[in-house]
Subunit: 404 residues, 2 copies
C-alpha cells in the first residue's frame, strides 16, 4: 500500500522548500534558515514540548495555528529563541517578514528555532536572509533539512505514496534532533507535509495518537528540550474526499503518517549525539501497553545499558536493573531477555535469572550498528518499542564544549 518515494517535504503536491545561510551561524558553509511553503492553504496540526520552559516560537505557532490553518514553516538553527526577554517579539517579527515576502497572512506561519538556549536571537540575519530564502523556493527538501540541523550528522528525510479513496496521496517529512532528546508529548523538530485532504481536527487527532508511539518513544539523553515541535501541513491537493471522520481513509492516512514518523524516529535515534548504534527495545508480554512503554523507555534511557551497548558487552543484568526501577508493574521472575541483530539472536536471561550463553556470539551480535533488545514480560499482550542509542565518548565531547 505504501511506497517509498523521493522528495521529502516537497514530495506532496504544491509544497516547495528551501534552506540558506543567513548568518546566525558563523560557519558560512552551514545553512541556518529553512522554509517550507504550500501553494494552497493547508490544514495544520502540531504538538509541542511539555517542558515548562518553552521556546517563544512555540507560543507564537500555537497561537497562529489555533484556527487549524497554515501556509508556511520557517525555522532557524544555531541559536534557539528561548529564555530571551524579547523572544515573542522576534518570533512574531520573523512571521511578519516571511508573510510579507510570500504575500500570505502572518498568522499562517509555523515558526520554530533550535540551537543554544538563552542567547538573544538577532532578527537582522533572518530579515536579510528571507528574500533569498523565498526566491530560491523549489523542490529543495534537502536544503530545508540541512537548514534545521544542529549537531545532527545526517539529514533525516523521507516520503511515501499512499492511496485514500482511490486517489494517490503523498506524505513526507524532515526532522532534526540529536541531543537534548527525551520527548514528552511532542519532540524535536519534525515537519511533515502531505497533499492528502484532511480536516485540521482529524489531522490533530492523527498526530496526537501517532507521537505517543513514535517520537515519545525515543530517548537520546533523557533531556526534554524546550523547543520540541512536530507539525503536519495537509494541503489537500491530492484531490481525495476530505477526511473529516474516522474510517478507512483516516486509517490509511494514519498508516502513512506512522511510516514517516517511525522512519524519522529510527533516524533520529541512530544519529543521537556521539552514537555509534541504534538501539531498539522491543517489549512484549506486558500486562498492558502503558507498562510495555514504561519498561521499553526505561531500558533505552539507562546510561549503563547504553554504555554496555557501546562496548558490545552483553551485560543483561543492567537491563534487568532498568526494568526493575522503571516504576512499572512487572514480575521480575518472569522476565526473559535476548539480543538480536543481523548476525542473529541470543537469549541471555530466562525467568529473571542468567542462562549460559556464548559471550563470543553475543559480542558478534552486539558489534552491529542496529541492536534489538528483546524483553518478554510473560504477563499479557501489551507491547511497545522504544528507540535510543549508545552512550559514547563523543556524546561527552560534543556536550562538554557545545558552545565553544
Amino acid at each position: 500500500m505504501l511506497k517509498e518515494i523521493q522528495g521529502g517535504v516537497c514530495a506532496a503536491k504544491g509544497f516547495t522548500a528551501n534552506g540558506v545561510h543567513c548568518g546566525i551561524r558563523k560557519n558560512k558553509t552551514k545553512r541556518d534558515l529553512a522554509l517550507i511553503y504550500s501553494e494552497a492553504e493547508a490544514s495544520a496540526a502540531a504538538v509541542y514540548t511539555q517542558n515548562l520552559v518553552k521556546g517563544a516560537p512555540l507560543t507564537v505557532t500555537k497561537n497562529n495555528i489555533a484556527d487549524g490553518k497554515a501556509r508556511a514553516v520557517i525555522c532557524n538553527s544555531g541559536n534557539a529563541n528561548t529564555c530571551n526577554a524579547n523572544g515573542i517579539e522576534i518570533a512574531e517579527q520573523t512571521c511578519a517578514l516571511l508573510a510579507d515576502a510570500l504575500n500570505i497572512n502572518a498568522k499562517d506561519v509555523v515558526v520554530a528555532s533550535t540551537g543554544v538556549i538563552g542567547q538573544p536571537l538577532d532578527i537582522t540575519p533572518i530579515a536579510k536572509g528571507i528574500p533569498a530564502l523565498v526566491a530560491g523556493l523549489g523542490a529543495h527538501s534537502d536544503l530545508a533539512c540541512e537548514g534545521i540541523m544542529t549537531t545532527d550528522t545526517q539529514p533525516k528525510e523521507i516520503a511515501f505514496e499512499f492511496t485514500v479513496g482511490g486517489k494517490t496521496c503523498r506524505i513526507g517529512g524532515i526532522a532534526k534532533g540529536s541531543g537534548m532528546i527525551h520527548p514528552n508529548m511532542a519532540t524535536m523538530l519534525v515537519f511533515v507535509t502531505t497533499d492528502c485532504a484532511v480536516s485540521s481536527q482529524m489531522l490533530a487527532k492523527a498526530l496526537s495518537a501517532d507521537v505517543k508511539d513514535s517520537f515519545n518513544m525515543i530517548s537520546i539523553d533523557g533531556d526534554t528540550s524546550t523547543n520540541d515541535m512536530v507539525s503536519v501541513l495537509a494541503n489537500g491537493l491530492a484531490g481525495n474526499t476530505k477526511i473529516d471522520s474516522e474510517g478507512a481513509d483516516f486509517d490509511a492516512f494514519c498508516a502513512a503518517l506512522n511510516a514517516v514518523t517511525t522512519y524519522l524516529c529510527r533516524k533520529i535515534a541512530a544519529d543521537g549525539e556521539g552514537a555509534t548504534k541504534l538501539l531498539e527495545c522491543k517489549v512484549t508480554g506486558a500486562k498492558d501497553e502503558a507498562t510495555a512503554k514504561t519498561v521499553a523507555k526505561s531500558v533505552i534511557c539507562s546510561s549503563l545499558v547504553k554504555a554496555a551497548m557501546f562496548g558490545a558487552d552483553a551485560n543483561w543484568g543492567r537491563i534487568l536493573c532498568a526494568i526493575g526501577y522503571a516504576g512499572a508493574d512487572v514480575d521480575v521472575q518472569k522476565v526473559d531477555v535476548a539480543f538480536r541483530s543481523v548476525k542473529g539472536e541470543i537469549p541471555v536471561c530466562k525467568s529473571g535469572a542468567g542462562i549460559e550463553f556464548s559471550e563470543e556470539i553475543a559480542k558478534e551480535i552486539l558489534l552491529e550498528k542496529e541492536i534489538e533488545i528483546l524483553v518478554s514480560l510473560g504477563d499479557g499482550e501489551g507491547k511497545a518499542t522504544a528507540w535510543g542509542c549508545d552512550l559514547t565518548y563523543d556524546y561527552v565531547k560534543i556536550n562538554g564544549d557545545y558552545r565553544t
Copy 2:
C-alpha cells in the same frame, strides 16, 4: 558539638572490622570480603533499594533484622548476588558460615553484595575466606572499606564524636558507590556504626528521615541499583540513657548521623564513575521542600548539564531546561541561576532570562573540583541540596567494558 575523629566504623566502642581477598575477584591485590562486628548486641535498622529487582542479600537481611537486632555485617564485592536462581541460599549460607565463626546467631547478620549482576555467586571463596576474615578483626575500618569497593577510586570513611545526655558517643560509617547510583529510598552500600544507645524503633526512624535528605539526593547516572542498602548498628556501649523517644537526645543523634551521611554523600558523588568534579545543586525559594528536591534532582541528573560542567561551560540554558522538565510546579519567569566555587560566584540568569556575564570568570569558577549550582525559584521558603558529578569520557570507558 560534633568533632571529626579517626576510626571509621571502628571509632565507636565495641566495633571491630576487617577486609580480605577471598578469591571472588581474580585480582589478588583487591580485597573482596568485608566484615564489621559488634562485641555487644546492637539495635539495627536498614533501608533498601526500591528497584523491583532486588539482590537476594537484601531479602535475607530484611528478614534477619526484623527483630531490630544485629551483631555483624558481611559484604562481598566483585559479584553481586542478584538475578541468580540460588541467591537466597547463598546469602543464607554466608550468614550461617559467619555466625559459626563468630559464635553468634545467623539471624544477627546483615549480609550485602555488590558487583556484576546475574553471574552466580560461588560460596567456596567466601567459606574459605571467613576464618581469616574473623581472625584478623581489629581496628581495620580501612580494610573493610576497601573490601566493599567496586569502581570506587577512593575509600569513603568518616567518624564523629558527639554528646548525648552528658555521655560521649561515637558514630562512623563506610560507603561504596560509584556507578548505578540514583537512589530511591535507600542507596548504595553504606554501613554506619555507633556506640550510642538507641532503640531499634528510633534508629529506624532516624535513618528513614535521614536518607530522604542525604542518599536519596545523590545521582551519578540515573540508574537505581538492585543492591542499595544503608544500615546502622547501635550497640549502646557509650553508656548513655537509651534513646527511645523524640527529644534533645534523639536530635543530637540525628545530627551526628546526618554529619556522617552527608559526608559520605559528597564523597560518593565526587567519586562518581569517571567524575572529575563534585556538583552540588542548591535550590532555594521553592514553594515547598518537595518541589525544591524535585528541581535539584532534575538538574543534577541532566546528562547535558553534567557534560557542560565537565567542559567548564556556563551553559545555564541546560539548567533552565532541566528545571522545566522536572515535573515540579515552578514559575520559570522567576528563576535565577548562579554558579559558585572557591573562585567566587557568578549570576548567569535572572527571572528566567540570560544576563550578561564574563565567560572568562565563569570558566575560572567552573574549572574547580567542587561546583555549586545555585537555583532560586522566587516562590517560597522550600530548599534542598542534591549531589552529583560531571559526565566524562571515563564514565563511558568504565561502563563500556565493565565486565572485561
